[in-house]
Symmetry: C2
Amino acid sequence: MPNGAHALMKTLADAGIEVCFSNPGTSEMHFVAALDAEPRMRAVLALFEGVATGAADGYARMADRPAATLLHLGCGLGNGLANLHNARKGKVPIVNIVGDHATFHVKYDAQLQSDIETVARNVSPGFVRTSMTTAELCKDAVDAIAAARGLPGQVATLILPADVSWGEGGVPHPPPPPPAPAAADDATVAAVADAIRAGGKVALLLGGAALREPGLLAAARIAAKSGVKLHCETFPTRLARGAGLPPVERIAYLAELASLQLSALDHLILVDAKSPVSFFAYPGRKSDLVPETCAVHTLASPTQDAVASLEKLVAALGAQAAEPMLQAAERPSRPRGKLTAAKVCKAVGHLLPENAIVVDEGITSSLMLAAMTRGAPRHDLITLTGGAIGQGLPSATGAAVACPERPVIALAGDGAAMFTIQALWTMARETLHVISIIFNNASYSVLNVELERVGADTKISPKAKSQLDLHGPVLNFTHIAQGMGVPAARVTSAEGFNKAFEHALATPGPHLIEAMVPESLGGTKRRILPWMLRSLPSLPPTLAHAIRRKVAP
Amino acid sequence: MPNGAHALMKTLADAGIEVCFSNPGTSEMHFVAALDAEPRMRAVLALFEGVATGAADGYARMADRPAATLLHLGCGLGNGLANLHNARKGKVPIVNIVGDHATFHVKYDAQLQSDIETVARNVSPGFVRTSMTTAELCKDAVDAIAAARGLPGQVATLILPADVSWGEGGVPHPPPPPPAPAAADDATVAAVADAIRAGGKVALLLGGAALREPGLLAAARIAAKSGVKLHCETFPTRLARGAGLPPVERIAYLAELASLQLSALDHLILVDAKSPVSFFAYPGRKSDLVPETCAVHTLASPTQDAVASLEKLVAALGAQAAEPMLQAAERPSRPRGKLTAAKVCKAVGHLLPENAIVVDEGITSSLMLAAMTRGAPRHDLITLTGGAIGQGLPSATGAAVACPERPVIALAGDGAAMFTIQALWTMARETLHVISIIFNNASYSVLNVELERVGADTKISPKAKSQLDLHGPVLNFTHIAQGMGVPAARVTSAEGFNKAFEHALATPGPHLIEAMVPESLGGTKRRILPWMLRSLPSLPPTLAHAIRRKVAP
């Protein structure tokens, strides 16, 4: 019989888990050695665990099946925790494998001993298990896979003691059955249909699995038939968008704007989505963004089949033949002159190729991205689902591993990029066609906004401001990228950006474009308001209308 | 009355906490704004939380008082967890401040919501508290400070909800009394003295607080009087060493070698140290490294005063007048020719200035460091106490903040350096005199050794080997450092290294020297044995003797 690691490797591959994003240590050496025996398993090394976990997240979002991670004890898990959090909040399946000391070694409290299960529980509330015997290991692994792939998708953590891995007597286990979620029951569908037919203002809030083409088309038929609005969560796990797909309006990050989007609604219908709440709390403001006069209905919870539920609603409303409104093909013009964050977004919209994957962690700098790319060729958008910064470059890495034929465009703020900058090395090593666009504005720009929003911005001195400022020295991402083997260019004009982006799109392999831009938003009310007004032409129509009504009466 | 954040800032400064290593987010904005009101508090921004926590660790090791951290919710804590683990294992005091959502916002399960207390408990088993009211905040902070500074030192985590921070009615609280640990009781001292006098082979194993000059001198008097050997833990938190100080022999990392060091002992006496166990477990090998025939005694536990306990033992043995053996001043010659890791260590020994702080995370590449610097001018050595890689550069950052007049030499393996490479930016921003020496051997070299040691190295194919290999592309740390504002040089000869090191020592501010070296150890038995034999002249005498007896009979 094979040892535990060999049997585990076969079990994973039999269940369709064919990529492992790893940063191994001594306790994982038998797992590493077992890679050789399983040709179906691809191992992708990361120089930091946050890259491995973020890549597993991005991979699963695009491959629609989990990857495995391979992490080194509790500290390796700790390093990977932030991106596992993003996966958890995005309902993304990951089989998180954490090596541990041999079972007989635990009692000695050696240097790397820690309580792995406790750390894991935060990101894997639904499944944490330490496999205690080689004979049971593969059964435990299949339970983990089943948990990860269930609805909602989740991070399932399997802790693998070294002696369970190296022990003889591993027993490969057949894969778990695929999940078979149910659609919303008839009574729920009928109640939602009644609410829609009652004639008030109604919106569908789409999330999770409802944001691919089938769900969007069903929702758009409902909209065409009955006039409901289509919203999507603020931070979708994966959103299909662009020309030829039904457009949906994302709920804004800024609670002030989100409240405007939701203000006139009588009914909000959740489809694999959470009722909108403020991202952070602010003094004197409500966290729940739904007006008290709006009734919230759940058509499909995250444990249900969102698309089948939408299709039942289509049928209940007689909307099968309704013609869904589709986004027209349109692109912004080619930007010119001194580079700004908005011009970067414009250039991306102008040049975005067919079938791209766009990963957005541009924070304040990518505010115009959605508007600038809405009529671009169809693409998938990946966003920061859990708010834990440092997701963009790792997620792009995993997405590129999942979809080697598709170009991946990752937009990241300078601050965000630095959390997991080691991802560049993995992109270079795996020759992934990822174009990393870094907005270098030398600032934690969003925090200047937040400093105002929380009311902490009165009489701010340079000392406090320095905590939000990335000057002294200004980072040079071009040098950093070159240090990790990724060709890079620093650009200060729109013309320079266009040229660098065209070159990167045409040349396989990784690229980094460092866009030197001023801050998009300032830290004072004087500047946010003008920005909002200037942005109106690019904002979604409801939002623009609401803002106009509120701030420019 | 001040708001919570202002009162907290005053309370921290009153208690002698005058540095905060931070990576803030929205929920910490009031804390950031309060920095302005407290001139005693220095805020040091890090681009990644692992840098902030590692810097707080290095700072406290050198300043002998805690710094504060400022981290952003559970995910920021997760990113900082590995270096907090190292601090915990090193018994280093840190006041770990983690911002959280406002108390009224928690129930909405917003994107960044997570169970912070659960994550914190792993590194702060002794103190985790969420402060629930502004009125109680400073009392909670003082309890955290008291816990951190107690014996043993620990990471105390104070979770600070945003509304507790921004709320009015903060009440500054006076500092806690300093800890007053007791020495070993008379009976324990007498029993240990009896064991020493009985005439068998005895060693003192010194750790923690026993490794500064007073403890070392007391131990050396005992050795001079009674012939006991002096060992120190494998990974000391801070070890005073060099010419004029009593030398102590570190227990080897490799269990095979450590067992040889301990093999002939009849009594092992622990002084603020843990009985030696294997770092990892290996098939068929014991984890406990102390021979069954050796009695283990505890003179001072980590909750006791180690130095006072040693001095009681000096008195009990009548060793007050014994002349301690002190290390003679001696330096290796200036290395020449093609660069190797050993020559880097030799150059460091040849050139080490007075009163330096040496941070060692060189892993396999710094094996010769201890031997090459043993007679160099006195210095403090900081090591990887918890085994969580990525400690070196952050720890050096914090040590330099604590001791601005002392040069800091950080040696790091290429793999290790990449975990927290963002530390370079903080070194540049704060103009710290840290010389980062990166051993670039393009390998997780220690894992090649471990692959053999765990018995997983038979028929290893390129696929498994690639998980331990950092080629394709080889990192260029010189470019990476330049990208973060740190002047850097890549060197391939000993002459080049000497020159770059001399320049860096003479020029204030941060520097990075990228030492291009071959791997120190190979991954096969054929290569480890010759290396051990070649190394004999540089190894501690006991160890060299034991190896000779065992492997070259």
